[in-house]
């Protein structure tokens, strides 16, 4: 088995499950367990883990390229913009999930709902950007 393809595949695995966690976690918290703050808190951990997994695996894609070819992926224009959007979403999502875990106990349901909406928006935006990054690079 080609080690390079194996490395990319394992990272893709982490990246994909990270995407599922950030979007699925926010959807579940927003609609399925909206009246269960304790479960929402568990989902916030899941979403935070998802964003961290996305960040780490995303950076590792570049690291694998550098390891095997001595250079990073070559992307431009639309793809580069999509990457910046993904990075911003990951940073924002991780920060928001961390704030939620630290402070949501004292929040009203409406405020918790708003934060989950924002986390969902960040997740969907990152996923949409990923499509452009994949095909316009």
């Amino acid at each position: 088995m080609d080690p390079q393809n194996l490395a990319y595949a394992l990272l893709q695995l982490v990246h994909n499950f990270g995407a599922v966690a950030v979007v699925g976690g926010a959807v579940a918290a927003r609609w399925l367990v909206r009246d269960a703050p304790a479960t929402q808190r568990c989902l916030a951990w899941l979403v935070l883990g998802g964003w961290l997994a996305q960040s780490a695996s995303g950076a590792s894609f570049g690291a694998v390229s550098y390891h095997f070819y001595g250079q990073f992926p070559d992307i431009h224009a639309i793809a580069r913009s999509a990457l910046f959007i993904k990075l911003a979403c990951a940073a924002g999502g991780a920060l928001l999930a961390a704030i939620y875990l630290r402070r949501a106990a004292g929040w009203l349901p409406a405020r918790r709902g708003m934060v989950w909406n924002m986390l969902l928006l960040l997740g969907v935006t990152a996923l949409a950007s990923a499509a452009f990054l994949r095909w316009f690079a």
Partner: protein, 114 residues
């Protein structure tokens, strides 16, 4: 006659080996513009290429002066060079992997635009 038969497998191997190597490593050829060609700035300038991506290649990128201007997904064809300013330019076609990283299979030509 017997000696010729002895050489036949060696000859076949020698002929087949470069092709096998080429297929394994991948290759890029640019048939137009030729290296050192002079182009007209106002013309519809295109690059004509043929690519063998090799086992690690996925698609290719087209560059002018180191700046990527297009993604090439066809193995053979031509692509517009868009507007080229007067002066010397380098046109490159580089094979990249699925992660968009150049894998070292590439061809570049230098042209002069007037």
């Amino acid at each position: 006659m017997k000696n010729r038969l002895h050489f036949a497998p060696l000859l076949a191997l020698a002929l087949a080996f470069p092709l096998t190597t080429l297929a394994q490593e991948g290759s890029v050829s640019i048939s137009a513009p030729a290296d050192g060609a002079k182009l007209q700035a106002a013309a519809d300038n295109r690059v004509t290429y043929e690519i063998m991506p090799g086992p690690k290649g996925d698609h290719s990128h087209l560059y002018i002066d180191g700046k990527e201007i297009a993604v090439l997904r066809e193995l053979k064809g031509s692509a517009s060079l868009k507007t080229l300013a007067a002066g010397p330019h380098e046109i490159c076609v580089k094979v990249v992997n699925k992660n968009h990283t150049p894998i070292g299979v590439e061809k570049c030509v230098k042209v002069m635009v007037e």
